[in-house]
C-alpha cells in the first residue's frame, strides 16, 4: 500500500495542519517508509485476541460533582493569545 499526495493532503485537512506542496511530498515519502515498517503486523493472526485498551486494569472512579479550584478565571485568561473582557476572541465565524 502506498500513501499518495492526495491522501496526505486529505489527512492534513483532518489534522488541521496547513501544508505546502513541497513539504507534502516529503511527508508522503516519510509516511510510506514508516508504514512499510508498520505493515509487519500483518504477519500475525489476531482474530481471537482481545484488544488491549488500557494497561491499568481499573474502572473509572466517580467523584462528587463540585468545584475544587478557586476562581482562576484571570489566570486562565492570561495565557490567551487574544481576549476581550472575560472572553477568548477568535476570527469571525458567522457571516
Amino acid at each position: 500500500m502506498t500513501i499518495d499526495l492526495k491522501t496526505v493532503k486529505h489527512i492534513s485537512k483532518l489534522a488541521r495542519i496547513s501544508l505546502e506542496e513541497k513539504k507534502a511530498e516529503k511527508l508522503a515519502d516519510d509516511m510510506n517508509s514508516i508504514f512499510e515498517f508498520i505493515e509487519k503486523l500483518n504477519e500475525l493472526k489476531t482474530e481471537n485476541v482481545e484488544p488491549l485498551t488500557s494497561i491499568a486494569e481499573t474502572t473509572l472512579r466517580f467523584r462528587e460533582d463540585k468545584i475544587t479550584s478557586d476562581n482562576i478565571r484571570e489566570k486562565i485568561l492570561k495565557n490567551s493569545p487574544e481576549k476581550n473582557d472575560d472572553f477568548f476572541v477568535v476570527p469571525k465565524v458567522v457571516e
Binding site: 489527512i11 489534522a15 488541521r16 514508516i34 495565557n79
Partner: protein, 485 residues
C-alpha cells in the same frame, strides 16, 4: 572535600542534615556550574534567582525531616510548573505559563526540593536525540557534538554534567532509559500508574510515565519514593501500597531469577552490545542471581505497534493546540484558516509527522486495519511478559542497540531513529517498570547501559538488582568539562 556538584543526592542530604553544608551553598554551586555550562543548552528556562532565594529561606527555617531538604532540582520541561514557563520543547507553547503544578513536581516541593530550572527535551517528548526541540540541540557532556539521547535529553545532559543532583524525566517509549544509557547515568521508568500524569504535557496517555534520573541507583530510589503517589486527579493512577524504596534497598538478591530473552539478540546488533550483555549476565550471577533463558516471541512487533498506538494517542492529545485559549496563534482569515496556520507554524516536523500518522490510522476505513490491530498485538506483547514472569522475577537486556550517535547522524531517517527504542518500547506497551544502569563503554569510550525489567509494581526488585549489579560494574563517567573551555 569533593566538589559539591559531584556529590550524590544521598551525600548532599546527609551533609545538609549534619549541617556541614547549607541549602544555599548547594544551590549556589549548581547555579554557578549551570551558568558556566550554557554550551550544553540543557536549560530552556532558568529559575536560578528564585532557587537561590528559596534556598536561603530554607536555611532560615530548615526542616530536616523532609526527604529532599533544601535540595535544588532541575526538571524536564514537560512538567507544568505553577507560574514558571512550560514549553514541552515546542514553539506552540513558547509563552505558556501554567496556573497549576504537576503532581509529581508538587511532591518534590512538598519534600523540600527547590526548582532550579526547566530542562530541554524533544518537542512534546517525540524523539530519541533531543534534536526535535524548538530550543535547539543539547550536547552530551561525554563528548562534543554527541546527542544526549531523548526525549529527556536536557535532563540526561544536565545530570551527567553535574548541573543538577538528580532530575525527573518522562518515558513513553524509552525517553528516560535511552538518554540515561547515552550519558552513563541511571534512569527508571516506573510501572504505569505509579506516578501521576496530572500536569504533565500529554504525549501518548496509555504509555506516558514520569520517573527519576540520577547518578546512582540509591538516588533513584530516594526520588522514586517522593514522586510515586496515588492521585485522584489522574484517572489511571493506581492505589497500591508503595514501598519505602530507599530504606528497603538491599544488595541481597541471592536466588532471584533473572530471565534472558533470546529475541533481544536482534539482527545487526553491534558485537560490543552483545558482549556488554554477556558481561551483565556474569555480574548478575556474581550477585547470586539465577539466570534463566526465556522467550518473548512478539518482541519484533513492539516497535510497529508502538508507531501506531503512540501517534494515534498523540494526534488526539495534541488536538487541543488550536491557538484559542493558550499558546501560539498565527493569524488567519477564518477560524479554520487560523487553526491550520497556527498548527503548521507551531509544530515542528517530527510532531507533524506523528500527528499525520495518528490521524491516518484513526481515520474512517483504517481504524480496524491499524489501530485495532495494534491494540491486539499489544495484548500479545503483554501476554509474553505475563508468561515469562511465571518463571522469572526480572529480565535483563541491553538498554539500547547502540551508544550515543553524532548530532545530525540520524535526523533525516525517521525509521532508523525509531529503532533506538527497540529494547525499551515493549516495556511501555506492557506497562512494566524498567531501569537503565551504566554498564560499560564502547570503543569510543561512550557509555552503554543495561536494562532490568520487573513485574508490575515491583520497582523494589528492579532497584535491588540494579543496586547489586552497580557495585560489581563500578562504572564512573570520566568528565573532561570540555564545554567549559
Amino acid at each position: 572535600m569533593t566538589e559539591i556538584t559531584s556529590l550524590s543526592l544521598f551525600e548532599l542530604i546527609k551533609n545538609i542534615k549534619e549541617k556541614k553544608i547549607s541549602s544555599n551553598e548547594i544551590a549556589k554551586s549548581f547555579v554557578d556550574r549551570s551558568e558556566k555550562s550554557k554550551k550544553l543548552n540543557a536549560y530552556v528556562t532558568e529559575n536560578f534567582e528564585n532557587c537561590l532565594k528559596l534556598s536561603k529561606e530554607f536555611d532560615n527555617k530548615p526542616n530536616f525531616d523532609l526527604k529532599l531538604p533544601g535540595i535544588p532540582i532541575a526538571v524536564k520541561d514537560l512538567f507544568c510548573t505553577n507560574e514558571v514557563r512550560t514549553t514541552a520543547g515546542s514553539n506552540i507553547l513558547n509563552n505558556f505559563v501554567p496556573s497549576y503544578e504537576s503532581t509529581v513536581t508538587q511532591n518534590i516541593w512538598n519534600e523540600g526540593g527547590i526548582l532550579l530550572g526547566k530542562l530541554n527535551c524533544d518537542e512534546f517528548a517525540m524523539g530519541s536525540s533531543n534534536e526535535t526541540s524548538f530550543f535547539g540541540n543539547v550536547q552530551n557532556p561525554i563528548a562534543k557534538d554527541l546527542v544526549p539521547g531523548g526525549s529527556s535529553g536536557g535532563s540526561s545532559s544536565a545530570l551527567a554534567a553535574n548541573l543538577t543532583p538528580v532530575t525527573i524525566g518522562t518515558d513513553t517509549g524509552g525517553s528516560i532509559r535511552q538518554p540515561a544509557s547515552f550519558t552513563g547515568t541511571v534512569g527508571l521508568k516506573p510501572t504505569y500508574g505509579s506516578c501521576s500524569r496530572y500536569g504533565i504535557v500529554a504525549f501518548a496517555s496509555s504509555l506516558d510515565q514520569a520517573g527519576p534520573m540520577s547518578k546512582d541507583v540509591k538516588d533513584s530510589s530516594i526520588l522514586l519514593e517522593v514522586i510515586s503517589s496515588f492521585d485522584k486527579k489522574d484517572s489511571t493512577s493506581i492505589d497500591f501500597k508503595r514501598n519505602n524504596y530507599s530504606s528497603e534497598l538491599t544488595r541481597n538478591i541471592k536466588g532471584i531469577k533473572i530471565g534472558i530473552p533470546k529475541e533481544y539478540r536482534v539482527d545487526g546488533m553491534p558485537e560490543e552490545i552483545e558482549n556488554l550483555w554477556k558481561k551483565g549476565i556474569e555480574y548478575a550471577k556474581d550477585c547470586g542471581a539465577e539466570i534463566i533463558d526465556i522467550s518473548l516471541p512478539h518482541t519484533s512487533y513492539a516497535l510497529p505497534t508502538y508507531y501506531i498506538v503512540a501517534p494515534a494517542e498523540a494526534s488526539s492529545n495534541l488536538a487541543r493546540y488550536d491557538g484559542v485559549k493558550y499558546g501560539l496563534r498565527s493569524s488567519g482569515e477564518s477560524l479554520i484558516d487560523m487553526y491550520e496556520k497556527t498548527r503548521s507554524e507551531g509544530f515542528g516536523e517530527e510532531v507533524k509527522r506523528r500527528i499525520m500518522i495518528g490521524t491516518y490510522v484513526l481515520s474512517s476505513g483504517y481504524y480496524d486495519a491499524y489501530y485495532l490491530k495494534a491494540q491486539k498485538v499489544r495484548q500479545l506483547i503483554k501476554q509474553d511478559f505475563d508468561q515469562a514472569y511465571n518463571k522469572v522475577d526480572a529480565i535483563l537486556t541491553p538498554s539500547t542497540p547502540s551508544s550515543a550517535f553524532k548530532i545530525g547522524e540520524k535526523s533525516n531517517d525517521p525509521v532508523s531513529m525509531y529503532l533506538n527504542d527497540i529494547f525499551t518500547v515493549p516495556v511501555n506497551l506492557a506497562g512494566l517498570p524498567g531501569i537503565s544502569i551504566p554498564a560499560g563503554t564502547d570503543k569510543n569510550n561512550y557509555p552503554l547501559g543495561l536494562q532490568i525489567i520487573g513485574k508490575p509494581f515491583d520497582e523494589q526488585t528492579v532497584l535491588n538488582i540494579a543496586y547489586s549489579m552497580e557495585e560489581k560494574i563500578n562504572y564512573k563517567n570520566n568528565l573532561t568539562d570540555w564545554w567549559m573551555k
